[in-house]
Amino acid sequence: MAMLHTVNKSPFDRRSLDVALTHAAKGAGVLMIEDAVLGAIKGTAVTAKIEQALGNLKIYVLGPDLRARGMTEDQVIDGVTVVDYAGFVDLVTEHDKVQAWL
């Protein structure tokens, strides 16, 4: 089982997403919630970084937080999986521990 990393601040505001990706082991899960969902969108300055990370990590984004910020699922980077809160819970139980990058 692997670790689930959660990130909640925007990559345009804080370095947390970057730091999380740097410290996530191969096969780990990374879930973007709250303002961090901005990191899951196509065509931004961080898109390439996420696309590269998808080579080693499973990356998820919380749908409710995306929609709250006026984004739709078709704007999400290919390969990033959209989950709801039930999916968030599943990710927590399916990984062996959770680390929050605040």
């Binding site: 670790m3 730091v19 410290h23 082991a25 680390q99 990058w101």
Partner: protein, 129 residues
């Protein structure tokens, strides 16, 4: 049949406390240290990680007189007395801030990002503040 005093102790989990913020600008450094001190009584396997601006929590020579806040950095030196000895500092965080181990007020183990990532994988519970 084990005597009461021979019975197994409770579970021992690997607890990691991750500190990423500088002291004084926010309360996280101080209050996370308070958790660590209380946690010492629970005999778990504790590691403290200082990374990003968290490395400044261990900086020597903190003089808080003129900001009117209590200098709590001496408390880091007391950790050893609580059997909390596994203190790790992120190499890249030190270097990018122009710091070395000599700038820190306690002995630490310096880990690069891959070693830190591996250490994190070994933990059972990770607390972030």
């Amino acid at each position: 049949m084990a005597e009461p005093w021979e019975e197994e102790e409770g579970p021992v989990k690997k607890f990691m406390y991750v500190n990423r913020k500088a002291p004084y600008g926010t309360i996280y450094a101080l209050e996370s240290l308070e958790v660590v001190l209380i946690a010492a009584a629970f005999d778990q396997d504790v590691s403290l990680v200082f990374m990003d601006d968290g490395v400044y929590q261990l900086k020597k020579g903190q003089d808080t007189k003129d900001i009117g806040m209590k200098n709590f950095s001496p408390t880091y030196r007391a950790l050893e007395g609580y059997d909390i000895e596994k203190l790790y500092v992120a190499k890249e965080s030190l270097e990018s801030r122009g710091l070395t181990a000599d700038d820190l007020l306690v002995p630490v183990e310096i880990l690069d990002k891959d070693a830190l990532a591996s250490l994190m994988e070994e933990q059972d519970v990770i607390l972030s503040f």
